[in-house]
Subunit: 441 residues, 2 copies
Amino acid sequence: MASLIEPRTLKGFRDYPPDLQLPREEILDKARRVYRSYGYLPMDTPALEYAEILLGKGGEETDKQLYRFRDHGGRDVALRFDLTVPFARFAAEHIHRFGTPFKRYHIGPVWRGENPQRGRYREFVQCDFDTIGTTSNAADIEVVFVIYDLLRALGLERFHIHVNHRLVLNGLLEELGLADRAVSVLRALDKYGKVGRQGVEQELRTHVGLEATQAQRILDLAEIRGTPAEILERVQLTLGNNAKAAQGLACLRQLYDVTRAAGLPDGVVQFDLAIARGLDYYTGTVYETFLTDLPGIGSVCSGGRYDNLASLYTKQVLPGVGASLGVDRLLAAMQELNLVPASYATAPVLIVFFVPDKLAVYMELATRLRRAGMGAEVYPEAKKLRDQLSYANKRGHRVAIIGGEEELAQGVWQVKDLRGQIQQTVADAEISDAVRRILLG
Amino acid sequence: MASLIEPRTLKGFRDYPPDLQLPREEILDKARRVYRSYGYLPMDTPALEYAEILLGKGGEETDKQLYRFRDHGGRDVALRFDLTVPFARFAAEHIHRFGTPFKRYHIGPVWRGENPQRGRYREFVQCDFDTIGTTSNAADIEVVFVIYDLLRALGLERFHIHVNHRLVLNGLLEELGLADRAVSVLRALDKYGKVGRQGVEQELRTHVGLEATQAQRILDLAEIRGTPAEILERVQLTLGNNAKAAQGLACLRQLYDVTRAAGLPDGVVQFDLAIARGLDYYTGTVYETFLTDLPGIGSVCSGGRYDNLASLYTKQVLPGVGASLGVDRLLAAMQELNLVPASYATAPVLIVFFVPDKLAVYMELATRLRRAGMGAEVYPEAKKLRDQLSYANKRGHRVAIIGGEEELAQGVWQVKDLRGQIQQTVADAEISDAVRRILLG
């Protein structure tokens, strides 16, 4: 006989067993519902694209991480590394059919051959939403509402949405005569959360070549703290005369006013001028979202506004704004915050298979419960009662229903509440109601 | 400026724009709900596996179709071509943590570099469910219930679940002294639906080398038609003395009795002795599902029982039974049967953005409607009313809400039923009720 093949996953990849996949599906399901409630439309694209579509869109780093190969027809192909580049390609191909504004969400796996770190994998799910075809700040403001609803739908209450506007930073750089070095300055600033003031200052001085006073003014702006109103006022005083900065400030002010007027609780939106988002293509509002109780986990929902999504594939100018929910990071956070239930039974009721030749009776009961909206499974073998109940307890079923010869003859069931370990005898005709009472109780 | 890159998908791949992806998500969502109502647990595995895990599991044909390459670490890797082989690898690795019986569902994309045909793509979604760790016929019977609930949940009413048992066929082959040629006989028989009696007969004679009487007896069995009870009786008469066939017949009889007793409508289950399922690893019950109004589209849900899922990776014997919903085939069928709505708005309400400086009022209204459970989007630009209504009509919104200076001053809204083109004035405090009435009406 042939020797066994070792069952293993590739380095940097992982399985999602039921206890992980169940909460993950819940997150994606809730995200879908929130996106839909705002009118975002679902779409999907293939995992594999022509390499030329993907190359050079995310920078040198991403190119190196591409899973790229020749297919059977000798085509140069690669696995997508994000959902934005495929969206750009998609928009260039299909936008004429749908028109603008076009609001879409896209949930799917992406692949990056980076060195695996704690909590980061080479295959992970992205969960993006975007509005393209409009420069209106209304779309930027909506992103904040969506993020708020997303986290609330997931049961999270303590979080902050950090918002900044690239034009404020660009205005400052213009004032400092550094407009041509914006990309490298913003990349340095983006590391503020990780390396702090000194780290950023050093990079700005040695790598970008700024003078001490220039670096200082950038960091002073980034470090402004206070309520949104206070921050708006302070930046107005220092940069209000710069046209770009003034435009950025106006957008932020409207965002603050509208979200407050529409009922977002005070304190959810925070202006944070240190947020630059390293990606070169953001040009307006940028967003990051932090959990108050787990700040170290990083942003769980990030994004921003860009001038033109699909300039590499079409002459049609498609400005847009959107963000991406960090599903696996959120899953890890929710586990740490005990928001993930330990039980992973998907059907709350286990019907014990007791009398071997009465399978039809058990299956009929299961069918009846499912029709009444309650998930129910029949244990597949007429094993010892103890074994079947141990299965139910291990999986986390809420109710076990037992019917032996005697019960079946009398037309009753033993209904066992597995949490309270309370057992009652219930007439067959009342079974749905009795089970429902336990499930709702 | 650099020239444009042509935006295109690879041959054999396709995008899912909102009008396709929305019904596809509905199918998957309903499948998930049905699977869960039976206690199947979700799981996921990586798209990429070590090539050695995937090679030789689906036969030579599948090996040739593998997307296989070297990753950054020089590892020989490939994209999964189904969800069964990864499940086998997964079970060998993790089953000790979960114990048996283990019921799982798995929804995800798979890749096969086959020649694209009409309606077949190189990337497609599989949607599998299986119970492993038991040989009990109860698990086989449950598969029929699941398939029935799946198709009903999708709004289909006219379909037949064709069931056969490999042991009946094996019993006949044993009687004919052909047990050692079972694989090639069953492969030939599996083409019955496509090539008919003559085609199968020819393959059995020339390729498998059977005598005329042998081929005839196999085809006579395959062509038995009638009610399940009639078929059971006829096979009992001809093969009842063969131990294998008798065992297969007993399983089929129990399946028929239990599904009938538990309330499955007469005629849904049909015994069809011509169904062999080409795959070598099926050893017991096999299933195919046909739509009465679209038989030509082929089986939309197929599967069967196997002796041992993971023998290549573990010495633990894991028998099981399951089936797979053909999501993309079903999607095509539902389009042909007009079961897919033409509208693809995900939020039924469009709030017109009329007065430019009143964005907060519109967004507050949208928030209120969403909290009341009704999806609502605010058009992002204060464009002409005509343009905004044309957007709503194109997307398929059900209701438009309009508030100009005058309405806002009076605290009312114009609520427009876009299907009936009826407009009414509604006080701000009554707006949720008014919209709900239209949506439910």
